[in-house]
Amino acid sequence: MKHALALAPSLLAAVGLALAPLAACGDNDEHTHDHPDAAIDAGPLAVSIPFAAAVRGTPFACGASITGVGTAASTYVASDFRFFVHDVALVPTGGGAPVPVTLTVNDHQNAAGVALLDFENATGPCQMGSAATYTTLVGTVPPGTYLGLRFKLGVPFAQNHVDPAGAPVPLGEPGMLWTWQSGYKFLKTDGAVGANGFNLHVGSTGCPGTVPTQPPTGPCLNPNVADIVLASFQPGVSTVVADTGPVLAGVDVSVNTAMTAPGCMSFPDDPECNTIFPKLGLPFGAIPAGNQALFTVR
């Protein structure tokens, strides 16, 4: 973070990108020193992509009480909201192939392009996280004008099953790990209605192998990585809103089927997942995927 990327205001307007003033561009630092003009002409542009978390329109906060959740219109007290993303890309204005965003490596984004967005701050009923939050992706893209954002919700297979003890951050996060075999919870949004915990944990299932403490022996039967396309996302203007309200709208969050996970934890025998997965853009057993309803653009 030593040098802000210097760009003329006119160029800024031309590319239609808001530049994060403190975002440094890794290798480009040295380049800027030696050939500042060349850097402006050809160097990557800093981009920041802000996210917000909500439940039925109410901003997520640890202990926030939200009414009208699920089919029984329950009052739901939120206790976690974190998710991994990867393959983040901006779509060129007018169409064309998505252009990958090179995520800046920091404590929440790694060199493989995996980031953990974290809205909980370990207060109140948020008992499984840490005080730090992380709500804005930072990275670089080639110069250009962009309209539209794509990313995948989850951790790519190649990263999801490396030894969690040595995995590069944000992997290794204890509260997000299932097991080495099944990898990470891609999305963890916890809450409760009274004493009934209703936790949504999305991750890969059916990862082959009989030993939970070993990586799977092949690809997972249900990767459960959702492909998210937000065509109206304007860099520098838009915020991505993750709202679990629409995702939970078809399930009664005040009850759980006995002998299944409290909420929906991706397991194929859990009926609480039946209406949730399609709204994440994921199939669930024989139930086909629908349009994802978790992410919108504001």
Partner: protein, 392 residues
């Protein structure tokens, strides 16, 4: 010499079993590390089991073999208590994974402690120390409590600091051991250095050689079929064990050098519900003691399950006698205390973790799960001569 010692002394105020109110010499406190010592990130000089990350080391206390070996001697040395009757090891027995097998231990002068002596397996990876203290973030801080605490008295050092330093200085081997551990210090036998050495030894108490580990490493014969079935059950979404006891150390209350932020994790597991509204027994209410938030009542740090079969009795107050009883409690979704001053149904404790929901097992599944938990015992750790009492 006394004057110099006194200035370097760590001061203990009233210690009630938790170090929230202890004043610490800055040189011992990792958060106020000596900049000269902190020139480079500390490195880990010992072998680690496969898959184990490098422990986070406090910047003020780089670890060396000489320091840890000095710490081993001090850990096992009864001369460290004021009346010469108790060592750190008096409540931490190697064959019990450094727990002591008692419900609650007694200090060197007979004071009974309120909490069960924890096993010390892999405490280098703890984000916090003692059962429920978010402010006790290093072993150096934790060690102050049993050494200097007065309420209760454990080693009873407060008021006898110089006397005990003189004992060590007059010993045949300690002056050379301190000199080797703290090269360049003209008077290395100080309480801050004693604490540094003990903490360094405790960080060496790393266990990763259980049958479960050998099975994970590819030895298909390391676990019996029953233990293997129990392992699958343990990691299942039906039992939810791994929400609090997941990861390489079988607890999510874990920290190591590669994690960006230190975490602290505390959960209410439904052990008590004294008044039906979530209360724990007066005088031992967990994280609540630091926050006074009713929702923090009964929240304690989940310990590692490594070597759990040898650390009975269980829970912060030692009130669950056997591993079978622990499993029955979780199967029920909380403990029912039927009589006495603490009667109540922990299952309906409103502050209980939502992941302690209960489950139903067949007799065979129960036996399988217990077999798996017992297969987390690392026999080599329990008998490793380099971790044993050097005075025997």
């Amino acid at each position: 010499m006394r004057a110099a010692l006194a200035s370097a002394l760590v001061v203990a105020a009233v210690a009630c079993g938790d170090p929230g109110d202890v004043v610490v010499d800055g040189a011992v406190d990792a958060r106020a590390a000596d900049a000269a010592v902190d020139a480079a990130p500390p490195t880990w000089p010992f072998a680690l089991p496969p898959g184990f990350p490098v422990p986070r080391l406090p910047p003020g206390n780089p670890i060396t073999a000489e320091l840890a070996e000095l710490g081993r001697h001090l850990f096992y040395d009864q001369r460290l208590s004021a009346n010469g009757t108790q060592a750190c090891a008096g409540c931490h027995f190697q064959d019990r994974a450094f727990a002591d097998g008692r419900v609650t231990p007694s200090g060197s002068t007979g004071d009974v402690l309120r909490r069960n002596a924890m096993g010390l397996t892999n405490i280098a990876y703890n984000p916090t120390y003692t059962w429920a203290n978010p402010t006790s973030t290093t072993l150096e801080l934790q060690a102050m409590i049993p050494i200097f605490g007065k309420h209760p008295i454990e080693l009873g050092v407060a008021g006898h600091e110089g006397e005990i330093v003189d004992r060590l200085a007059a010993d045949a081997s300690y002056p050379a051991r301190f000199a080797a551990a703290f090269p360049g210090q003209p008077t290395p036998i100080t309480w801050p250095n004693i604490i540094r050495a003990i903490a360094a030894f405790e960080r060496r108490l790393i266990s990763g050689g259980s049958p479960v580990d050998r099975f994970a490493a590819g030895d298909a014969t390391a676990l019996t079929p029953s233990e293997q079935r129990g392992q699958v059950l343990f990691f299942s979404e039906t039992l939810e064990c791994v929400h609090c006891h997941g990861g390489f150390n079988y607890t999510i209350a874990v920290d190591h050098a590669a994690l960006p932020v230190q975490q602290s994790q505390f959960f209410n597991n439904g052990l008590y519900n004294v008044d039906g509204t979530g209360a724990y027994p007066m005088g031992d209410q967990g994280l609540w003691e630091f926050t006074f938030d009713p929702a923090d009542s009964g929240r304690f740090r989940p310990p590692t399950l490594r070597n759990i079969a040898v650390t009975a009795p269980y829970m912060h107050d030692g009130s669950v006698a056997t591993l079978e009883d622990v499993l029955a409690m979780y199967e029920r979704g909380g403990r029912l205390v039927t009589s006495g001053p603490f009667a109540g149904d922990g299952r309906t404790n409103p502050y209980k973790s939502p992941f302690v929901g209960g489950f139903t097992l067949t007799a065979e599944q129960r036996a399988d799960l217990l077999a798996f938990l017992r297969a987390l015992t690392d026999q080599a750790f329990l008998t490793d001569p380099t971790l044993a009492d050097p005075f025997r």
